[in-house]
């Protein structure tokens, strides 16, 4: 197999400079002219696509990037013995009986290792950095958002083990984190577990009627306050502007990229809460700088004699039509501005979560 190609930007310095100048305008002109700074690329989504899984979803972006997520739950004994049985039946009675602490409440009993996530991206090996980082970022937000792992608790001896398999069906054109996160969100939102018939510390026995299965994320009448899986949105800063859901070309000129995992707030004044925030190294840092005319022998300039001289000349030429890769990180003010745009009333987080909810409702 060919060695994995690093995610490299293959745009000329002149294009990068042009893209940046349009994105820095007020209001910004995006690569897709019809979109505003907070607009997401339109996508197509469906759920329950895999018959054998507890929950599944498929989301396709208009540029052809497509992700498929399957959620599969298995009953495991809590002593970390491999359970040969699949879900839905009583397990082998070799599990040690421990004195059962009569505790109905599953709160705080969940363990992080009960959720296992794997991300597969074509052209990348399992241990390449991109799939590993994506998986850890998605797991992190899922565990941080609260109640999920506690709901996997059955009794003192048994628990559900959740396998979340994420498959990107196309090569990663832009940074696929947001897409994978939305697909995972939809899959988890529609995942169901068989209803439990046994009580307390009996060997678990499940209702074999799939219609009686319970949702992994329980639904109540007031659906706005239900616990829902987190969703990650990407925001990038370019000049004074903030742009959500950047495409590949826009990422190539980003000053900084922020991945924000947000979930809906169950009880607070704002409509959404932030679960985790991470900065992502934008590919723009690796782009080759443009050569200004005054330093290019092919355009009548003179090539600087030393690299120090070249650096000085470049500094003087900043903000002209010459592409210079952005340096440095994200300003504090910008981060707070992004966070505010995400969590505010009618903000990005609320829009995304309710749009994904609308898919499920039909």
């Amino acid at each position: 197999m060919a060695p994995p190609q690093p995610q490299q930007v293959n745009l000329s310095p002149a294009e990068l400079s042009f893209l940046r100048s349009t994105l820095c305008q007020a209001p910004p002109v995006r690569f897709d002219h019809t979109k505003g700074p907070k607009d997401f690329r339109s996508m197509r989504a469906e759920y329950d696509v895999l018959p054998g899984a507890n929950g599944s979803a498929r989301v396709a972006l208009e540029d052809g990037t497509e992700a498929l997520v399957g959620v599969k739950a298995e009953v495991e004994t809590s002593q970390w013995r491999p359970s040969p049985d699949a879900r839905g039946s009583a397990l082998a009675p070799d599990a040690e009986m421990r004195d059962a602490a009569d505790d109905e409440d599953a709160k705080g009993k969940g363990q992080n290792s009960w959720i296992e996530m794997s991300v597969e991206i074509p052209g990348f090996r399992d241990d390449d950095s991109l799939p590993v980082f994506l998986a850890s970022m998605l797991t992190e937000s899922l565990l941080a958002s609260g109640g999920l792992k506690d709901r996997l608790y059955i009794n003192t001896r048994f628990h559900w083990k959740l396998y979340i398999d994420i498959l990107l069906l196309s090569p990663p054109l832009s940074y696929p984190l947001a897409l994978l996160s939305m697909t995972t969100h939809l899959a988890l939102l529609t995942s169901r577990l068989p209803a439990l018939k046994s009580e307390k510390d009996e060997d678990p026995l499940f209702d074999d009627d799939w219609d009686a299965a319970v949702f992994l994320y329980p639904k109540s009448k007031a659906s706005a306050s239900d616990d829902k899986p987190p969703v990650i949105v990407l925001a990038m800063g370019v000049g004074p502007n903030i742009i959500f859901d950047p495409c590949m070309e826009e990422l190539a000129v980003a000053d900084s990229v922020l991945a924000i995992a947000c979930a809906n707030a169950t009880a607070s004044s704002t409509r959404a809460r932030i679960v985790s925030v991470r900065t992502i190294d934008p590919p723009s840092h690796l782009t080759p700088p443009g050569v200004p005319n005054s330093m290019n022998s092919a355009t009548g300039g003179t090539v600087p004699a030393s690299s120090a001289e070249a650096l000085t000349q470049r500094e003087l030429l900043a903000n002209s039509g010459v592409w210079t890769p952005p340096r440095g990180g994200m300003k504090r003010g910008l981060i707070s501005q992004v966070v505010k745009m995400v969590v505010e009333e009618g903000g990005v987080a609320e829009e995304v979560i309710s749009a994904l909810q609308a898919i499920e409702l039909g």
Partner: protein, 338 residues
């Protein structure tokens, strides 16, 4: 509404796969299993084993048999007794004289290799470019050392296919003032639909003029339609603005000194906005399965500007479907208006 999530589309929109072939209804339908234009054949699928049919493009007959097997995924076409399969997506097949837009992939000692969306990378020899300093300038060893000052990796250029080699690799040249490095604009690729017999189903059509200037409200815009499906939209090159920067080396007339510049000129925000708009509309056109040529771009561009102006007056800023939605709306109006 910042986000739109739609349910999956119905099994591939049949509208833009449908085209009227007059030859299609002439022949008798005996012995052919699949005849509808909406169904596709896949590579390796047996089209027919009846010996009366002849094989055309996209098909294959194994030795000692009369079975016709498809080699590509696409639609079956019949012309009298000739069977051919038109692929759904194909790469560009270079032909001599084509105007193409390409991107430098690698730099070698005496040539560049260029991605022109063909199955093989094309080559651009150092001897096939105009060197700065006039047409009569001789190529020297210094130029070979400075090869990266002309084009380096990632740079875009417009060139002409000069010759084809035995393995179908193309050799390019830029020995005209029309050709050379591209800057001041935006690149769009429509790969998979470009050129040749595929032109009926969206993509760039070979035409008399592959480059043209579009009049917009903010200023003039140059559009380069590469036959290979690569498109570059840029600010209009103004002639005679080179006097401001007199250099020591005496440059000949003919080759302007900004020929190999990788620095953008100052572009007015209005022009930059229109460039982005044209580039988005081109993508929308392909999304709708329309061909891309000068006439179409001009009509859709004018329609889109009109539409936006009207929306502004009406106060409804509801835009569904992005680029494709806008183009569909414009095309709908154009067809209604005649």
């Amino acid at each position: 509404m910042p986000i739109t999530i739609l349910p999956p589309s119905a099994p591939i929109a049949a509208a833009h796969l449908h085209h009227d072939d007059s030859d299609e209804d002439m022949s008798d339908d005996d012995g052919l299993p699949v005849q509808s234009t909406t169904s596709i054949v896949t590579p390796g699928e047996t089209v027919t084993s009846d010996p009366q049919w002849m094989r055309g493009h996209g098909t294959y007959v194994p030795a000692d048999t009369t079975t016709i097997i498809s080699t590509v995924a696409g639609h079956l076409h019949k012309t009298n007794k000739l069977l051919s399969v038109q692929p759904l997506r194909a790469r560009y097949t270079p032909e001599i004289g084509d105007l193409v837009v390409g991107r430098i992939v690698s730099v070698q000692t005496k040539k560049w290799t260029v991605d022109i969306a063909a199955p093989m990378l094309a080559s651009l020899p150092l001897s096939a470019i105009n060197l700065p300093g006039g047409i009569l300038r001789r190529r020297t060893a210094v130029d070979e050392l400075n090869i990266r000052t002309f084009f380096s990796e990632g740079d875009l250029l417009v060139a002409e296919v000069q010759s084809l080699h035995g393995d179908n690799t193309a050799s390019l040249h830029t020995r005209s003032l029309k050709y050379g490095k591209l800057r001041n604009g935006l690149f769009t690729s429509l790969t998979g639909a470009g050129g040749g017999i595929l032109s009926r189903r969206g993509g760039v059509v070979r035409s008399k003029r592959q480059t043209f200037t579009l009049q917009t409200g903010a200023g003039e815009i140059d559009v380069v339609l590469g036959v290979n499906g690569y498109i570059f939209v840029s600010a209009h090159k103004k002639a005679g603005q080179d006097e401001k920067d007199v250099s020591i080396t005496s440059l000949e007339q003919g080759v302007s000194e900004t020929l190999y510049s990788s620095q953008n000129d100052d572009i007015e925000p209005g022009v930059a906005r229109e460039i982005t708009r044209v580039s988005t509309l081109v993508k929308g056109l392909v999304g709708c399965g329309r061909r891309v040529d000068e006439d179409m771009i001009v009509r859709v561009y004018e329609g889109a500007v009109e539409l936006e102006a009207e929306e502004k007056v009406m106060g409804s800023s509801e835009r569904a479907g992005g680029a494709k939605g806008v183009v569909e709306a414009v095309l709908g109006r154009l067809e209604m208006g005649g």
